[in-house]
Symmetry: D2
């Protein structure tokens, strides 16, 4: 049995050094953060491993966009699956808007009057919708003939600055999926085009061919889940077409006991053949705006030649 | 100020009587259950109100199917939005399979060897996938030409027994949406048809026209969320096209503090115009397999002429 | 493997019938409620079994007092361990005060100005403290010479109406412990006597002799925890002096992953010898103001000759 | 309104720099960590402010002991209130024992056979109890005549190495309280002395005089809660004797909705007069083994002359 070594914090300590201390303790939440760094580090460095990254929750309004962009740029993510909301907020910022920090104790009724939409303690101006409409109307014809959500998102990404989630996916040809794109501001914009008479050819089910092909041909697979929802479930579903993911890290605050997919421990996937027996998995029970920067920082420091991977 | 009256439990008490006691106490979780009964009761009895019902989480493996069917039959649900998983499990049972209770302490690796898929403490035989494949291959041509997920699900429902979620939606023409249908066993089956050369015409974004039309033309709207995920978010999005929902009940165990949609208090929707200022809302923080039967039982007893509504 | 039977709710259904349906489903939260009824029912009917009941959380402000009183009266509880807060709120109501339901959206600053103390959505007038002071000053001399918290609480209970938690414990001589009595309004009142020159002889550690003697001489033991905290931990500690509890039900919303005692699954106690290998345990992850009335109602109906036990 | 700036993680980044990035984002969990650093930093540097520190949860088995010791040594903590469990585990390590990291998937029944007690994924040998008995028997007479838990703990601390929580409190005369000392291994040891005929004079209620005097005479007060339980509640109770705490940081995973003290937002204390209207408070919803090292590291870097304070 290995001893729990107490975490020692020193002045001027680097994040990676703190995580090393957490690893020495090795138990509870801190131990899981350290284990997440270990496992994510391994999957990023394993050249045979395709990394599937699921992005759910209010991660763009929550200030996590840059980290996702950086990971995409470094070639750490081979397949991105996102909620429509995160891609919409990415687009909103690409159109020149910001998200704002909540200020004091304003009621939702007052916010509504002021045209401000609330995402917990992050605010967004409702006028972004008008600007998105202009944007999509201007580019409407460019989406014609596109058959998959992935191609649609790549096209959209090419219209956005490179320093955005979709911008980088599009330019680097990183497959990006969004199984519930209709369930988002972007979806609403497409509905807007539809009702104004534009034709749209994106088809349901077609993206499955692409993600399942990637899964099927991957020598090894790793998964990283920020939150649950469709991004996690869609990747888990694809894992049935691998030999089971060899690596897995999930960050969630959801509970396992209700039986929902979002809170399910990764090991449950072993019964389905989604995760590999004997694979390396950790469930990090933590707010992602705390755990993701920590784990990313830990792996960034740990990997030496990570940039070479892509 | 109203006094907290202590809950008195009597032998042989009816569920509705217990909820009345919880209403007398009126605080914490029990008070919220009682408030949920009040609000859901009002929205079911309000003939001007369209009820949008979101179904997420492992509700079919969790034994909640009959309640959903009963509510559909009674005309309490005007629009159903579900995860693909719940519809898949509904289909699985329609094909003659069951879900099973977990027995003792079997590892996921052992379950995998025995061909058993685990959903927390509910089990399913993996052989259901083979049977679903047979089913869809047999009926493949019947899905040709269908353009929306709703029409697809109605078609599918007609091939299932009436006593199923999709079976009843199809026969009663209750609009049923599934914004992430690809993210489910049913999605996999459609992929299977695709790769075997069948043509599928279901389009992304087209269902939005239908649900937004229903929202737009509704005199009043009410929402009931079992869990969060895309069902909740998709309905919330549609609510922007109403004057804001007048009624809302959500059952969730997710936390608000992470900023995700699933755990967001209903009142947050007021800022967006999704929920109406001054509307009646309650967030029931409870496992849905406890709260849903209670709330349903309370409303069942309370409403006299509910069957007349539909 | 046993099939998950879907919960069927019928009009006019009794609570016990609903729980039977939950038992038929047998999974997730509803299944655990049903299992809780089974196990608590068994321990109440097992004449060899001493039932240790831990009461934490805002159960008196939350409207659960009557249920605790009823269980004490029926002889279902052999040993009560409570937080000081619940006993203080019990006393407050015994002195003629009430708790109130939160009304609308008042800020804590406004409540403070109005002399109202908030316990989530339950309110209490701050003037109760003055009345408690009068009460204790009047009875100050009666507490002299008392050496244990249990004797102190029995004495206090004799000064309160029978229809109170302490009132019934005192009259029925049901051992009642409060390992952190100083950490409560009652504690403050005793400090008040101390600083006004009264002598108090209650000693730390002395109550341990009594509770450990009860544990040691019990043929069998069962535990029921409403919340965690010191009530749970203190009983768990006593269980080391039994052969391990044969039965256990806990209702909690706390998480296991942080490693704290309050959220720890009962089975963890097996490693310590606090719980018996092969014992019957269930962790009900639910708000106690929902789960406790349900479980109590279920057992009330189920047990026929329960009143005879005491 | 202030813009949400996306967190930028750089290679070799210091913890304090990461927290500065989290502060720039300023929302959700990361924003709260940053706010916690700000507030705790202020209270540590405010020379008029007495810092009351509550320590609950499995913090010693969880590897957090060194951080608590370091904060005590730096004079950041003026009053410590702990659960009995943390002090017991501190003593266990002082007697030469360790805690261990969980290894693989061992059942609680097997652990019991091997004499290993489990605290989630931290292990302890049960033989520590025998050694504690020897220790207390040897020193039994030294506890005679002690009237308060604080004096008892100081005496105990003098028998322990300086590099322990109690060791440093004792040598530096930092008031340390434990309102539920009976509810712990140390409590059991005292019971052991009692039943072997030793006299113990520690009295219930007497410690209240000391902590309330400190509160009463404090010019300003700040609170820092690691977990809830009696440490939080006992300090909150003392705050009623200040003008209300000016600063407050709490780290918890407990929910507010159940109404319990552990999960209650700090602002609720404003209604009671425990917290000051307009004070600076933050509720950090996070596993303490993640949040405590982060916040401590952030303040360590931020404060220049912190060591001078004490």
């Amino acid at each position: 049995m290995e001893t729990v070594k107490h975490v020692k914090v020193r002045e001027g300590m680097k994040v990676s050094e703190l995580i090393k201390e957490m690893s020495g303790a090795g138990v509870m939440g801190g131990g899981r953060i350290a284990r997440g760094v270990e496992i994510f580090g391994e999957m990023v460095k394993d050249k045979q491993c395709k990394v599937f990254f699921g992005l759910a929750g209010a991660m763009v309004p929550g200030g996590m966009k840059q980290i996702v962009i950086d990971m995409l740029e470094q070639g750490w993510i081979d397949v991105l699956v996102s909620t429509g909301a995160n891609l919409t907020h990415d687009l909103v910022e690409s159109l020149g808007f910001n998200h704002y920090k909540s200020c004091g104790n304003v009621s939702d009724a007052e916010l509504h009057k002021k045209g401000i939409d609330r995402i917990y303690d992050s605010f967004m101006k409702n006028e972004v919708y008008g600007k998105m409409e202009d944007f999509f109307r201007k580019h409407a014809d460019e989406f014609k003939g596109i058959k998959t959500v992935k191609e649609f998102l790549w096209k959209l990404g090419m219209l956005m600055p490179e320093k955005s989630i979709l911008g980088i996916c599009a330019r680097r040809k990183i497959p990006v999926f969004c199984p519930a794109i209709s369930d988002s501001g972007i979806g609403l914009m497409m509905w807007n085009l539809l009702v104004s008479g534009k034709e749209l050819d994106v088809k349901e089910f077609y993206d499955l061919k692409e993600i399942l092909d990637i899964a099927w041909t991957a020598k090894k697979a790793g998964v990283f889940y920020v939150g649950g929802g469709t991004p996690k479930n869609y990747i888990q579903q694809a894992m049935q077409f691998t030999k089971g993911a060899s690596y897995g890290v999930q960050i969630t605050m959801d509970r396992a006991e209700t039986g929902g997919s979002s809170g399910a421990p990764l090991v449950e996937g072993v019964s389905w053949g989604k995760m590999k027996e004997g694979g390396k998995f950790v469930d990090v029970i933590c707010d992602a705006t705390i755990a993701l920067p920590l784990i990313y920082a830990g792996v960034l420091e740990q990997t030496q030649d990570k940039n070479q991977k892509a």
